[in-house]
Amino acid sequence: MLKVENVSKLFRSGAFGGKKKRVIHDVDFEVKPGEVVSLIGESGSGKTTVGRMILRLTSVSEGRITFDGEDISTLKGASLKSYYRRVQGVFQDPFSSFNPIFKVGRVFRTIRREFLSDLDAATWETRLTDALNAVGLETAALDKFPHQMSGGQLQRLLIARALVLDIRLLVADEIISMLDASTRIDVLNLLGDLKRQGLSIIFVTHDLALGNYISDRIIILQKGVIVEMGATDRVFGDPQHPYTRSLLDAVPHLHERWSEEELKDLGLVADTARSGGHLIEHRENHLVRVYS
């Protein structure tokens, strides 16, 4: 369905963009219908950038991204709109995803105006109510200002927004990292339910536990390079790349305490981000980057 083919991204930096900085190197993966793919990496590894490129909020510098075989960078006007009817995103900060001066219901009116203007009022109402119910909200919620709602509610509204459109791929960029522990699981569960209904999700996170919780496949990004990817149980159960391992080691567990040495090992995570090398198939459905 979605194919990310050897995509690289260069940002201009410095005055007048004299220099270019490559933040994504040759990223190549695929998302199948009904599949949840997690993009995992530390801060600055390029997760958001990949997500934004898929959403066409950032342009692709090299390579291409196709959806159902169509190169998304060629989309314009109506075809872009139709792309957005199939692919949507939810972002990290629920509070900043809503225009703070309007009531939250405005988002849905905009959706209707931009995408569903052909729908008659009744159909629209039922569709809206259904979507809201699916995320566990009442229509009354639409009449509130963003600051009057909790982060979890807002994220659910955004997911409902995607549901109204009946999309096929959702890019969820750290959508729970700003939520309280008590509410984040609600949102995660909701994503899980949607996946069951056949929605594909690209789940961006730096929290391995969360990635593990709902995803089918894991992609580990380090400084814009995919260092390891594969089925969730493979990558987590048998991490091959040192970077993946160090990430896993750093995850605190409730019930297992780090040993004294582990805790006080203040050495930096091995800087193994080298460009070059290539991904080889370690096992079926498990690719690892090796360097010659």
Partner: protein, 320 residues
């Protein structure tokens, strides 16, 4: 040894007083790292700030703070000053921007020490030694904050805050903005400092229970301006007595838990407004165990050594 009793701190707002701390009593032993956790807005930071410096809008309403047998005059900004830094110190949440951007770090530290009546130069070797422990070279002292990465700044702040070997250190959300790798480093540093005796005791504020489980000796859970539970880390993690603590722990996905296999429950509802909090147990609206008695406020009582809970049903549960 820190002993806080019935501390009440309110925020003055136009809409009325926000009762961010509404009668909080607990103690932290020497050498203890106490984790403080709870949902956003429950008053964690307020507690941390109250122990060192009240901001303009914070209003001291009542209670007492005793540190090493001395009563801290927390309501009196001037009287409090001599205690700051040397007795109580803080690693703020905003470590990234805590350093004056236009002063070289070393110079800033010297000026600060001089202003406190200490000689910057005599402390210099100790400063450099501690920086080295965290993997920083003395060069950083000659740099401007902007020349350091976020993690470096955070470590510098940690060293600076503990330079005078305070009795109590408050670390407010020092790991929250970091990814797992950096988080671990900071957590390690906290323990290291305690172990070396740079600080006697510590309050680590965070909403991330998993990290507390790694570093804290005891964990205190707050809910809506009140204490819910305090116990040794192991007890909290393995045998929490307060229903809120349990629900909170239950909603944490551990590596290995998968949605497909085990669907974790969340906690329904939202915490009450602190402007006019309900009487009685503040968690009762969301509590699965709530019963008639919950309209009365449960006392924060010790149900086992070092294990305090504020719940009418705590006893039953701890034993059951």
């Amino acid at each position: 040894m820190l002993a806080v009793s019935d501390l009440k701190i309110h925020y003055r707002t136009l809409a009325g007083a926000v009762k961010a701390l509404d009668g909080v009593s607990f103690s932290v032993a020497d050498g203890e790292i106490m984790g403080l956790a709870g949902e956003s807005g429950c008053g964690k930071s307020t507690l941390g700030k109250a122990l060192i410096r009240l901001e303009e809008r914070m209003q001291y309403v009542g209670g007492q703070v005793v540190l090493d047998d001395k009563v801290l005059p927390i309501a009196d900004d001037r009287a409090m000053n001599p205690y700051r830094f040397s007795e109580v110190s803080i690693v703020p949440q905003y470590a990234m921007s805590a350093l004056n951007p236009t002063r070289r770090i070393g110079r800033m530290i010297d000026e600060l020490l001089d202003a406190r009546g200490l000689k910057g130069s005599t402390l210099r070797p100790e400063l450099e030694r501690r920086l080295a422990i965290l993997g920083l070279t003395p060069d950083v002292l000659g740099m401007y904050p902007i020349e350091l990465s976020g993690g470096m700044k955070q470590r510098v702040v940690m060293v600076l805050s503990t330079l005078l070997d305070p009795s109590l250190l408050i670390a407010d959300e020092v790991t929250s903005a970091l990814d797992v790798a950096s988080q671990k480093k900071v957590a390690g540093a906290l323990v290291e400092f305690r172990d070396r005796g740079y600080v006697k005791s510590m309050i680590v504020v965070t909403h991330d229970l998993a990290i507390l489980a790694q570093v804290a000796d005891s964990i205190m859970i707050m809910y809506a301006g009140k204490l819910a539970e305090k116990a040794p880390t192991r007890t909290i993690v393995e045998a929490p007595a307060h229903p809120y603590t349990r629900l909170l722990l239950g909603s944490l996905p551990e590596v290995g838990i998968r949605f497909e296999e085990q669907r974790l429950p969340g906690i329904k509802g939202r915490p009450p407004s602190l402007l006019s909090p309900p009487t009685g147990c503040r968690f009762r609206d969301r509590c699965p165990l709530a019963f008639g008695k919950c309209v009365e406020e449960p006392p924060f009582i010790e149900i086992a050594p070092g294990h305090q809970v504020a719940c009418w049903k705590a006893d039953a549960h701890a034993q059951g």
